[in-house]
Symmetry: C2
Subunit: 233 residues, 2 copies
DNA sequence: TTAGCTGAGTGACTACAATCACATAGTAGC
DNA sequence: GCTACTATGTGATTGTAGTCACTCAGCTAA
């Protein structure tokens, strides 16, 4: 399918590029759609594209030697993934799979590399991105160190709460929350355990579900206390 | 203490820089020594230096909210740490502590940033470094996903084995192996559990200790089988 | 030599999360 | 509306790693 420069400029990281550059990139890029559970990027393969997510939600996952799934991060619309090879030409370290039906734009890595030569700003942005990724991985790693399981779940939930709800301890809504299974995979837990923690949170009126696509966090303050360990479940 | 350009050029990443640049950097840098268990970098603080390790061994660690220590990575002589702020001016995400007495060279981040402007090569190298860090964090994360504890320990040990011993399945030696405690912290285990796994490995003549500073891996093939799960302990 | 420290080895006990095996609820497709 | 999934909820059981409480070994520094 045809990619227009307008489509590309919908992505915050590409928006600041000069129109001519966008036009050229658009020519070389392609739209790809994936069904739920589709494999967007394959681990161990030298992917030659950076994948920009237009619609839907992606997850970076890995598999342990014995086949167990390990959740690494989520990708939201407007964001991108598979950029690691931009820096070291190495293979994609983890799988990226579609959690919902998704629409993506694949931009060839080599073209993007050329663009970074002329636009140090983009290079800088990529660097910041990568740094953010390291920070996220580090935070996630320390989350896994928590010996208390419900605290782990609450911390993860807390990370999904929007920034200003976090700041002001307001009640808030998480859109398209991950399934219990997806959370379990992120936190090295079994699905049942996550389910049980949610059960307690719901009976305590701390969170409330509303269909599959909404999760109300009614009592942010309590969630925060549970997340930082000042209160036990 | 005075830093000489020669000292700086001992670091592979700085070696390719022009002598004039090295001389300038040397002027602005300083040698810092730390005792075992000394805090080299503090989490949450905007450290204004990149720390190059000359002698000894460092470990990146984090602490969970409840105070449990979480091991992230090791830094060996010639390598550096604390470079994340180079990319996003953000705070240091994790602590770096000295596992042994260490000698480091602190190079001001701002000076280094100026140098990267004139030396894209250094910038590229930093990018590769960061990419490698992401890969390492990802690998470590999937290690933590292993439900079988002894496999986890064996995998970690396997990562400590030198590359060519890994390739040719030769017996080899690990210098200054981490203590059981350090391994436990890396792998989210208790010290006792690591101890028990080592006990089994030793009675099976797969590894053998030789003082505190040497660990012989006598049966690399067996260690590999245990690491990849084709054999159970 | 002795004291003091850190690292390592080990048994007993226990808590707790995984697993299994279901039931039930929602949703999406036809 | 019916069917087929996928997601979720829940009890019973069990394995296993954490914890505690020691001992012992090795190093270093008075």
């Amino acid at each position: 399918m045809q990619v227009t420069p307008e489509l590309l400029s919908a992505f915050p990281s590409l928006k600041p590029l000069p129109p001519a550059t966008l036009a050229r990139l658009a020519q070389e890029s392609e739209v790809r759609k994936f069904a739920r559970r589709g494999v967007v990027m394959t681990a161990g393969v030298r992917e030659e594209f950076v994948c920009f997510l237009f619609e839907g939600r992606l997850q970076g996952v890995d598999f342990t030697i014995d086949g167990r799934e390990v959740g690494l991060y989520f990708v939201e619309p407007g964001d991108f993934c598979g950029e690691l090879g931009m820096f070291d030409h190495g293979p994609q370290p983890e799988f990226v799979i579609a959690l919902t039906a998704v629409v993506t734009v694949f931009v060839p890595m080599e073209s993007l590399r050329l663009v970074t030569m002329e636009n140090p700003m983009l290079l800088k942005l990529l660097g910041q991105r990568l740094a953010a990724r390291v920070r996220q991985l580090t935070r996630q790693r320390s989350l896994l160190g928590l010996p208390n399981i419900s605290q782990r779940v609450c911390c993860q939930l807390w990370l999904l709460v929007s920034d200003d709800a976090r700041q002001h301890l307001q009640s808030s809504v998480i859109n398209n929350p991950p399934t219990h299974m997806e959370i379990a995979i992120m936190l090295n837990l079994s699905r049942e355990t996550v389910s049980r923690v949610f059960q307690i949170l719901q009976t305590r009126n701390i969170v409330r579900r509303d269909g599959t696509s909404l999760l109300h966090v009614s009592d942010s303050a309590a969630l925060k206390r549970l997340a930082d360990g000042s209160e036990e479940l």
